[in-house]
Symmetry: C2
Subunit: 156 residues, 2 copies
Amino acid sequence: MIIPGSLPGHAAHPKGLRPSRGRFAALTPEVTMQLIHTCYRIGDIDRSVAFYEALGFEEVGRMDIRDEAVNVFMGLPGDGARLELTYNHGVDSYELGTGYNHIAVTVEDLDGTLARLAEKDIAPEKPPYSIREGGSRLCFVRDPDGYRIELIETKH
Amino acid sequence: MIIPGSLPGHAAHPKGLRPSRGRFAALTPEVTMQLIHTCYRIGDIDRSVAFYEALGFEEVGRMDIRDEAVNVFMGLPGDGARLELTYNHGVDSYELGTGYNHIAVTVEDLDGTLARLAEKDIAPEKPPYSIREGGSRLCFVRDPDGYRIELIETKH
């Protein structure tokens, strides 16, 4: 649970999408609602923090939930604490199910990121590819609990 | 897969957290990586779009994945297309498992939001509460597939 101290001023503009019912939101001078973080449960704090740090995240803070759990907040520099990792004391694994899919992270240099991850023995599910001709290069990696992260390259 | 057209200029500042290892990130003039969206699979597009619209989201776009699936991008006004909902043709439900927890959304007026949701027969898991004295009021609702959304009130 994190309240942002400031608000991004602009909407992200989708790329390669067909607009739905002419609903592109006009930019508003003030954003009154935000999707501030995504939370999933992890089986070990240290291994998750090490993984997300290798990916470029920083640990922003920890919050004890009584003596039951610890919430670890991770964020990319300047991007806010957008990832909340919940460790429940004594629980070292979870059923991932089939519903949750991934978080997506933009990277400037996908090959460089993958090289950095390879040093930590983290490999992508398959080599980088593009969905369509001229589209962004992307690939997926899995965190220590098996949650997928989509890496999308922003350079062209 | 959405590439933001612009970048938020500031990190979200955590509130009520103990800092980890003095790692509060300095604000950077340019953000090079971002967590841009969270993706989960849904069993019916219309009912999910109706739910997230009741919550204040707007549909930003749809993308066909060959003839296999449709990705529906939803966003809060001015906040970017931070939610990707994947509908796989012919699949109407998923195992949610125990790993994924929730997304968190800030709202200015939690009671007003809950009243608006009540008109659509959407009730919170339990009435709003605060984690600690003077902390933000919050509650959880579930979307039509059962994914949890934390609503955190920003007014004081």
